[in-house]
Every structure is written in structure tokens, then in C-alpha cells.
């Protein structure tokens, strides 16, 4: 008779504290073999200097390409890196869920625009505006954090989420407010049309006008912010934040000023976002309410989570990866390479032994070809849909995947079915999973060719949501984060 499983088997931590420490130490010592000298050499370099090669590589970008588009993508990436670094202070260092982060970014951008546009006919020099905006954003963060200071992190989440929404509502409607003691409405933010013609950054007479200029400006700021945050992380405050993140109660018992630390993290995050906002507003030469919407928040969260909360380099890598990925997904042909590439890489990584991999791939290929040959004879309208894109991969895919005439409708139904089947695959174990995998692969390709590739903007959003859920389930510490010590 088989014994029933212990009821708490899943809830028990897999290893204890001492064991974790021992394993961690072992891993460090264990580095032997051919690459060991290289690892040791890297470890001897002081951590702040390790980013130098990446910075040098980034600085070369404008020399490698003359296309303004590529440089603007580079600039966007750097903006994302900055935003992710700021969010990392709040989420990664201190472990607070700040869902109004974009509002601070927006506040910085709008504040810069108010001081340097025709809105109020103020054209302040940048060296004056930027520090003021940063301090103002930090104070706004402090104000917002105050009502939540007595409460758990959850309340902070709801207050900040609502604040983000309220910010967008406010700036989209603050173009006809009548202040007390004033006759007639005043246009504060330009309403839904935003504030156009924002001045460029003007540093002591040096006006930054080109995409290339802004790229270098963002690069310099990113490096400075990264170094500053590195030293902050290693400081007394940084260590206190980590203690707070791991166990607020224990931190409080060690006489750490928990509330003040929370507010401080909040303010640092807000100030970074505000600074980024000023660069963004100047580059875009305008600010619009739609720039600061929820999808941006989710994107930045995905970046921080993917890279590994708490790790500065990890977060920067996460930001670069996701932004480049989203940029590639814009065109059907490149997106197709990414999609099939990821599926193949995933199968190579997780499917063992190799014969199983071969069987699944062969099964999917045969299944697809059989369907491609048979179904048009049985169902009318199973072919004749429009094919998206060109190139050899596209031709190969379309020789395999059916393109029904009403692809949108069929694709929608199949999308729902695909989500259900993928979830079912997660539950299944053993041979059944392998058998089901082949049709699911075909279905995924079918949905991709018929539906997702035609809606790149929506596909991006779906992928972001899925990345967050999957990463949280599979690897909550992200790619470069360190695993959390389980406390028993």
C-alpha cells in the first residue's frame, strides 16, 4: 500500500539556511577547470569597473551605424535602463511594490516641460531645472509614501497604482482648471494634447540637438546613476534595505528605522525616474499623457524581474534584452525568427534525452505536413489565407502550417485552445507530455502564423504578461539575481 504524500510536502523549503550558506560558499570555491583563471581574473576587477566594456561597446554604437533609427532605439534602451535601475531601488533593494512608478517618470517629464516650454513662457537653464525636478519628484514620492508608512507593502501597492492612474487623469484634464482667486481657467498641462515644443537640454550654452547627442547624454547619465546606485547598495543604507527586504520584522528588531528606510528607497526611486523624465521630455521635444500609461509600467517590471531584482547589472541586461526583443517583434520576418528560435532553444534546454527531442520535432513536422496535405480535401476554406512576410523561414513555415481563409476567427479559437493546452502540458508528466507536445507545437505555429504575427503590437503585450507569470513561477530571482535564503 502506498503511503499518501505528506500534506505539507510542497510548502516545505527545499534546503535550510546553513545548507544554503554552505552550498553558496562551495560554489565560489569550486570554480576550477579550464575557465577558472578567467573567473578569478574577473573577480579581481572591482565591480564598478566591470561595466566598462559594455559602456565602451555602447559608446561605439553611433560609429557602427549611420541609421538614426538604430541610435534612437539605443536611446530608448538607455531610458529603459535608467527607469529599470530606479525601480530596482524600490522593488529590488527594499522589496516594496511601487505601481505608481511611471507617474514619477511622468511628473519629471511634465515638470521639465513646464519650466522649459511656451506653456508658462519659462525657459530655465537645464542645470537649474534638473536638480529642482529631481528634488520635487523625491518629495512627491515622500508625500505619497507617508499615508502608507504604517501599513504593509500591499497598501503601498494599491495607493501607488491609484496614484499612477490619478496622475494620467490629472494631466489629461488639467487644461481648464480655475485656481482659487483667479479669474478664468488656466491651462496647466495642455490636456490630452500634451505640451509641445519643449526646449532641448542646454548645459551651459551647449544645446543637445541630435539623436546622437541624446544617446551620449543618456549613456553618461546611465553610467553615473549606475555607479551611484552601486555605492548606495554597498552602503549602510543599502545593507539595511536588503535586511528590510528579507525580513522587515527582524530588521525592526535590530533597531533599523524601517519606515524611514522604506520612504528613503521610495524617494531614491522617484528621483531617478524624475531625472529620466527630464531627458525623455527633452528628447521627444514634448510630453503627452499617453506616454505614461500602464503598459510602460508592465514593461519596466518585466525588465527588472527578468534581469533579477536587486542586481544592478542584471537589471540593465534585462532592460536591454526586453527592449531589443520588443523592437525586433515589430516586423513579421524578424519576429518569426525570434519565435521559432525561442521554441527551439527552449526544447533544446529542457527536453532530455535527445531522442525525445528528435521524436517530438519529427512528430510535429509529420503531424503538420499530414494536416497540410489532408485537411484541404476535407474542409473547404482551409487554405487561401494571406501569408505575412517573406524569406526562407516564412516559405518553410507556410509549407507546413495551414492558412485558412478566415484566419482571424480560427486563429482566435485556436489561441484560446493553445493557452489551455499549454497549461495542461504543465500539469502532465512523462510520456503523455511528450505525446501532447508535438500537436501543441504545431498549434503554436498555427496561431503564430495566422494571428499573432499580424498583430505585433498586441503580441508584445501578451508576451510581457506571460514573461512575468512564467518567470515568477520558474525563477523568481530572475536571470542574474541570487536565490533567496529560505528561513525555516
Amino acid at each position: 500500500m502506498a503511503l499518501p504524500e505528506r500534506p505539507d510536502v510542497r510548502d516545505r523549503p527545499s534546503i535550510g539556511v546553513d545548507e544554503w550558506v554552505a552550498r553558496h560558499g562551495e560554489r565560489r570555491v569550486r570554480r576550477t577547470g579550464r575557465l577558472a583563471p578567467a573567473f578569478r581574473a574577473v573577480e579581481r576587477i572591482p565591480p564598478p569597473a566591470r561595466i566598462a566594456p559594455f559602456v565602451a561597446l555602447a559608446a561605439l554604437l553611433p560609429f557602427l551605424t549611420s541609421s538614426d533609427y538604430v541610435i534612437s532605439v539605443g536611446f530608448d534602451t538607455l531610458i529603459y535602463v535608467l527607469l529599470a535601475l530606479g525601480l530596482n531601488v524600490v522593488v529590488g533593494f527594499a522589496g516594496l511594490l511601487d505601481l505608481g512608478y511611471i507617474a514619477f517618470f511622468g511628473f519629471g517629464a511634465y515638470a521639465y516641460a513646464e519650466f522649459s516650454s511656451k506653456q508658462f513662457h519659462m525657459h530655465w537653464p537645464t542645470w537649474g531645472t534638473v536638480p529642482i525636478v529631481m528634488v520635487a519628484t523625491a518629495l512627491l514620492g515622500l508625500l505619497l509614501g507617508l499615508p502608507s508608512r504604517r501599513l504593509l507593502g500591499d497598501y503601498l501597492a494599491i495607493v501607488t497604482l491609484f496614484f499612477g492612474q490619478a496622475f494620467v487623469t490629472f494631466v489629461s484634464n488639467a487644461n481648464r482648471i480655475t485656481p482659487p482667486g483667479h479669474s478664468g481657467p488656466v491651462d496647466f498641462t495642455g490636456g490630452p494634447n500634451g505640451i509641445p515644443n519643449v526646449d532641448p537640454w542646454n548645459l551651459f550654452g551647449l544645446k543637445i540637438g541630435s539623436t546622437k547627442g541624446y544617446f551620449y547624454l543618456a549613456l553618461v547619465i546611465a553610467v553615473v546613476v549606475m555607479l551611484a546606485l552601486y555605492f548606495l547598495k554597498e552602503s549602510r543604507t543599502g545593507r539595511a534595505w536588503r535586511a528590510l527586504r528579507e525580513d522587515p520584522l527582524a530588521a525592526e528588531l535590530m533597531s533599523m528605522p524601517v519606515n524611514r528606510l522604506k520612504l528613503l528607497a521610495f524617494m531614491f526611486g522617484a528621483a531617478t525616474a524624475g531625472l529620466t523624465g527630464t531627458v525623455f521630455a527633452a528628447y521627444q521635444q514634448g510630453v503627452f499623457p499617453s506616454n505614461f500609461d500602464v503598459p510602460l509600467l508592465i514593461t519596466i517590471y518585466a525588465m527588472v524581474i527578468l534581469g533579477g531584482t536587486g542586481s544592478l547589472v542584471g537589471v540593465a541586461i534585462g532592460a536591454v534584452t526586453i527592449n531589443v526583443l520588443l523592437e525586433i517583434l515589430r516586423t513579421a520576418d524578424q519576429a518569426r525568427f525570434v519565435f521559432y528560435g525561442f521554441i527551439l532553444a527552449g526544447l533544446l534546454r529542457f527536453l532530455r534525452p535527445l531522442w525525445a527531442l528528435a521524436a517530438v520535432l519529427a512528430g510535429a513536422a509529420i503531424f503538420g505536413i499530414a494536416l497540410h496535405e489532408l485537411v484541404p480535401h476535407v474542409v473547404s476554406g482551409a487554405t487561401g489565407g494571406t501569408a505575412e512576410g517573406g524569406g526562407w523561414l516564412s516559405r518553410a513555415a507556410h509549407a507546413w502550417v495551414l492558412l485558412p481563409k478566415n484566419g482571424t476567427l480560427v486563429g482566435n479559437y485556436c489561441y484560446v485552445g493553445l493557452v489551455g493546452l499549454v497549461l495542461l502540458l504543465v500539469l502532465l508528466r512523462g510520456a503523455l507530455r511528450l505525446v501532447l507536445l508535438a500537436p501543441v507545437l504545431y498549434l503554436a505555429a498555427f496561431v503564430w502564423e495566422n494571428r499573432l504575427v499580424q498583430e505585433p503590437s498586441i503580441t508584445r503585450l501578451i508576451l510581457l504578461g506571460a514573461i512575468l507569470v512564467v518567470l515568477m513561477n520558474a525563477r523568481p530571482q530572475g536571470l542574474l539575481g541570487t536565490a533567496r535564503v529560505e528561513i525555516v
Partner: protein, 310 residues
Amino acid sequence: MNWSLFFNLLANGLVLGSIYALIALGYSMVYGILKLLNFAHGDVFMIGAFIGFFVLQGLGGAGNLSVPNWVAISLMFLAAMAGCGALGMVIERFAYRPLRNAPRIAPLISALGVSFFLESTALLLFSARFRNYDPNFRLVSFDSGVTIGPVFVSSLRILTVALTLALMVVLTALVSWTRTGKAMRATSFDREAAAMMGIDVDRVIVWTFVIGSALAGAAGVMFGLVYGQVYHLMGFNAGLKAFTAAVVGGIGNIPGAMLGGMLIGLAEAFATGYLPQGSTFVDLYVFSLLIVVMLVRPSGLLGTRAIQKV
């Protein structure tokens, strides 16, 4: 004072409050048991509204139904509640259960991901346009109703509020008198102790999600019937308000969620009517209300201050 306006706003507030209260219940119940803010709940509400819409279309549309009106309405509610209940179960199984023992922030981010996934899936499947539910109020006539004092209350509004009250009574009975309800209360009080007493905590959590999501589904159909239009982003705003309602009432507290929902609904209606530029800045007014409540009574109106045990 213009009493007709006042009573009209009161009726509006009660209808809106009913919808918020139903959504808030789901937030509050899940929070009570898992200490998890289920951000995806607002989007479950949106899916419920779409299920109702497609059932209505499947029966021929509001103008030329193949069944009597009351059958159509019942079918819409039942389908939305069943569909959303199943959806809640799936979300719990795949997005939250594996994270039961993870750091606190992990399930929150997972919830954020589910919410975004549902929203963009709805955008892919249903596109971004607004769907007209029941354009000319043919299912429940807007012209019929009763006159109470100076105002006329349409039967659609009466139906919404009455149905909400009925669902709340059923829920209260369920939680107070059934075995599952008792297990829920025990789990909410202390999950570990409940597990030690032989309560299948996983089953209780699944039931909580099913019930909460079904209520959100019902709220979705109500929203469609009363306001006439459904779209893929409707869950975000309604979810946010319901969330506020749950916090104002005392999160984790079932009567608190009902009270909070009604309060937020009424506050929104009266803000629209009486405050300067109310209809534009209604979100800001509700937000200020949230901040005030958090400053004055951080644990909500009916919440008790939790004592943290180590």
C-alpha cells in the same frame, strides 16, 4: 436643495456601489485567506462582461431574442458566473499556487502579469472597439419602474441592486453556515492552524477563488446591462475602484467589502454631481477619499488591526 438631483445621484451611486461591492468581495476574500492582492480580479470582471455579451449575441441579440427576456438574463448571469469561476480556478492553480511559499512580492508580480495577459488577450480576441451590450435597453426596459417620492427608479436599477443584495445574502449564508464557509473562516484566521486541524487548505483556497470570481462575473454582466458598453480595458478602472472599496471597508472583511463598495459608489456619484468638475476628476476625488481613510483608519472602516505574531 435640488432633491430630484440628490435622489437620482443616490440611485446612481447604489447601482455603481453594487457593482463595486461585488468585485470588492472577491478581492477581500482572497486577501483574507492568502494575504494576496489579486490584481487580475478586475480583468476577470471584464471577461465576465464579455461572456454575458457573447451569450446574448448567441441568443440572437437584444432586439430579437429566441427566448424570453428573463431566460436570457438568467443565462447570461449563469454563464458569466460559471465561466469566471472556472477562470479564477485556473488562475489560482497556475499563477498563485506554485508561489504559495515564495517571497511576498512574487505572487503580486505574478498577479500583475496575469492581469496584463488577460487584458491583452481580450484585446487580441475582441479587438479594441466598444461592444454595445443592449443598446436600447430592450432586455430590461429602462422606462418601466417605480416612482419613489420625487424620482423615478427604473426596473433595471432595481434589478441590479436587488440581485446584488441577494448574492450577498447567499454569500453570507455560505460563509456562516456551510462546512466550506467554516473552513474558509478558519483558514482566513490562521492558515497553518487550519491545516493542522485537518482542513484541506488548497481546496478552501480554490473555493475562495471560484466564489470571488463568480461574483465578479455577475458584476460584469450587471455593468454591461446598466452601462451598455463593454471593452477590454474596463477591468482596470473598475478593479481599481473595487480595490479601493475593499481597502476602505477593511480588506479581508466581507461585510466591510460590501460597505466599502457602496460607499465608493455613492462617493463617486455624489462627486460627479456636486463637486467642481466632478465628472472629469472623479478619480482624483475617490483617490483623496482613499488617502483620508488610510490616514484616519489604516485598517479600514470595519477592519480590526492585525497583531503581528512571530
